[in-house]
């Protein structure tokens, strides 16, 4: 039996190309559609614009849009607008921050915590990344990375509760210390800057580890070998070769961790104590309070956002200068 798959005959006995059989085939061969397609793809510039349209639209509506909306709310005197009232623009919400010192403490506390925790994360994850990139065989690197990723398969809250289970008065750490006879009464780890720090370092470690691993992995082994041949010790090799050549990874990791740390809310709420109130909690307070407090919360969020960006901008500049200084 033979079957001609490419040609079919219409009711008048005329041959119809296979492409015209389906609805989409007919659309594709429809004159206006073809003219429209030709118009859209007439030049590489147009093709680029069409390709870029969706990502740009996504960025505008999903990323920039909410931030612009927050900025707009921060400049109003009331939101949501109560029935029968009129919304007016004002800078009062920003003035409230600069005019009332009680808000400065959580603000600067947040920036200090973020800087300290970023540094701790760097100190803790650098050796891990170094070991992974330089001492684990290529074959096992992916497996090790996968193992490090396992905790990130669950959400932030679940991981925070894991820390609570670990550090609580009846948690694993206290039980082990008690079992070893090192303590009689549990050490109150929880609800302190320590427990909060442990939580934040744990939650942000991967954001530091991956850029560091990426930078260390590119480091040629031959450079270390050459330095060793010339008599450089391990510390000198690290200080003169590994560290300067991974500045880019350090810079990326620190920026990511710092920015994320300034915005953490659930972790400080769950792990922090009375003396660790961070700015995100202050901001959240304005959104929880029933009344016209959203604009103040939005203004405070904008202030924190701007401060975090400014600090990371200065940090990046410094790292760039360091890098250039090293390559001279």
């Amino acid at each position: 039996m033979t079957h001609d798959a490419s040609v079919r005959k219409d009711s008048g006995g005329n041959a119809v190309p296979a492409g015209d059989r389906t609805f989409w085939g007919r659309v594709a061969n429809w004159g206006p559609y073809q003219a429209f397609s030709a118009l859209l793809t007439a030049s590489p510039r147009r093709q680029f614009l069409i390709l870029a349209a969706f990502p740009i639209l996504w960025l505008l509506t999903q990323h920039l849009g909410p931030m612009l909306q927050m900025l707009r709310v921060s400049l109003t005197d009331a939101y949501p607008v109560a029935p029968g009232t009129q919304q007016e623009f004002t800078l009062e919400n920003y003035m409230r921050f600069f005019g009332d010192r009680i808000f400065w403490m959580p603000f600067f506390r947040t920036l200090t915590f973020a800087a300290v925790f970023t540094f701790c994360t760097l100190i803790i994850t650098y050796p891990v990344a170094y070991f992974l990139a330089r001492h684990v065989s290529r074959r096992n690197q992916m497996l090790m990375l996968l193992l490090l990723l396992v905790p990130f398969w669950v959400g932030e809250i679940v991981r925070t509760y894991a820390i609570m289970i670990l550090l609580g008065n009846t948690g694993a750490v206290n039980l082990v210390l008690k079992w070893l006879g090192l303590i009689d009464r549990p050490i109150p780890f929880m609800y302190t800057s320590f427990s909060m720090g442990v939580g934040i370092v744990y939650l942000t470690a991967l954001y530091m580890l991956l850029p560091l691993y990426s930078a260390l992995e590119k480091l040629p082994q031959s450079m270390n070998e050459a330095a060793a041949d010339l008599g450089a010790g391990a510390w000198t090799r690290f200080r003169r070769i590994s560290l300067p050549m991974t500045i880019e990874g350090i810079s990326s990791g620190c920026t990511l961790v710092f920015l994320i740390s300034t915005g953490f809310y659930a972790t400080p709420v769950l792990l922090g104590g009375p003396s660790t109130t961070v700015f995100a909690e202050t901001i959240a307070g304005f959104f929880h309070v029933a009344g016209d407090e959203w604009p103040t919360g939005a203004a405070f969020a904008v202030i924190m956002f701007a401060a975090a960006l400014l600090i990371t901008g200065v940090f990046q500049k410094l790292m760039n200068m360091l890098r250039k200084g090293d390559t001279k």
Binding site: A82, P83, I102, M105, N169, Y191, L270, P274, G285, A290
Partner: protein
């Protein structure tokens, strides 16, 4: 190739649908909320017993969508942001917050004629002065709660727990916790003032001075507290983990722990405390009003349902005869001796504007100190 084309088309179609959903304006969200057989409820954890929900859904065909909330302010802001086209039908407002919701036109008056089971509510709650505003009823009382001093009975004696001073004593330094906003009212009461601030409505300067005094007290006592917390689940966890020995809490979460066999006690201390009543309310412009009334009438139908709500949440039922369906332990955990109840007064709403304009910044100051 055909397969690839189909996948691409499907992808484009799915993306377009997802994009449309994300970008959907309020009227589309409302249309989604307005499903023919649904009722959308914002409420606290365990306030809709699971067994009742399943039975109601199977008997009426109305699907119950519960969105959990943990704060009155959040409900207010969410609803205010959604009005005049809210997605919620029934919400859970505490009686002393009625005025704020009513003044902002967020609640619809409750048509009690549509509730054949309205009479099942204890009149102490359904007919009390706070329940009627502008000549209308605004909510169906379901559970009653109070601010109590909870304590681990293995570490703290009942005698010690009969005064709020123990919460601020050096002996229990680092072993206490409280909700700071609620404690402001209690501290004012401890100092002999009116924590509702109704007495000072005509004297804002005195009100400000009292709040300042309470604020300074809490700042001074800050080194002694282990944790300022927000939700009932947090304080339960702290007791279970033995992170705290005593704390201020709502009676519901404390009773739930007692019913689970945890060595916990609770008192209404001698200096006094405040009580409140949770009510189910119909939102203004609710998308499924008829379903909302069907749900309300069903949940008020029998004292067993009230008892189930008490068992799950630990708060005291407002239903007549609900206690007949509680075990002895459950009865014990949801009742207080007469002499302690005499120390209790209800939160009032009249001076809320004055009160919270002073208390909210004070709370921030204590946290920041």
């Amino acid at each position: 190739m055909t397969k690839l084309l189909m996948n691409r088309r499907r992808f484009i179609g799915t993306t377009a649908l997802a994009g449309a959903a994300v970008a959907s304006p309020a009227y589309l969200r409302r249309a989604a909320a307005q499903g023919s057989g649904e009722v959308n409820i914002w409420t606290y954890n365990d306030f809709v017993p699971e067994s009742f929900k399943e039975q109601f859904e199977s008997e009426t065909g109305i699907k119950v969508n519960v969105r959990l909330v943990d704060d009155q302010g959040k409900q207010f802001n969410l609803l205010a942001a959604e009005q005049p086209n809210p997605t919620v039908d029934i919400m859970t407002v505490a009686g002393h917050r009625f005025l704020q919701f009513i003044n902002s036109e967020l609640l619809a008056p409750l048509d009690t004629d549509r509730l054949s089971n309205w009479g099942n509510i204890n009149p102490t709650f359904s007919e009390s002065d706070w329940a009627t505003i502008n000549g209308e009823k605004w909510g169906a009382p379901i559970l009653s709660g109070m601010e109590v001093l909870s304590y681990n009975t293995e570490l703290v004696s009942q005698e010690e727990a009969m005064t709020w001073d123990t919460l601020f004593s050096e002996e229990y330094a680092g072993q206490t916790a409280y909700i700071i906003q609620d404690m402001m009212s209690i501290v004012m009461l401890m100092m002999g003032y009116d924590g509702n601030m109704v007495e000072y409505m005509d004297d804002p300067e005195k009100a400000a001075a009292i709040v300042e005094e309470a604020k300074q007290f809490l700042i001074e006592k800050k080194p002694l507290v282990r944790k300022y917390y927000d939700s009932g689940a947090e304080v339960q966890q702290m007791f279970v983990n033995q992170d705290i020995a005593l704390g201020h809490s709502w009676n519901g979460p404390a009773a739930a722990l007692i019913n689970d066999g945890f060595p916990l006690g609770m008192t209404i201390p001698n200096e006094g405390s405040y009580g409140f009543v949770y009510t189910y309310n119909v939102a203004n412009n609710a998308p499924n009003v008829d379903n909302a009334y069907t749900f309300l009438d069903a949940i008020l139908a029998s004292p067993e349902i009230g008892a189930a709500m008490t068992k799950a949440s630990g708060f005291i039922s407002t239903y007549k005869d609900a206690s007949n369906y509680l075990t002895d332990l459950e009865k014990k955990s949801t009742s207080f001796p007469e002499e302690q109840l005499a120390n209790l007064q209800f939160f009032r709403a009249e001076a809320n504007e004055l009160k919270y304009s002073l208390v909210d910044p004070a709370v921030e100051a204590v946290k920041a100190a």
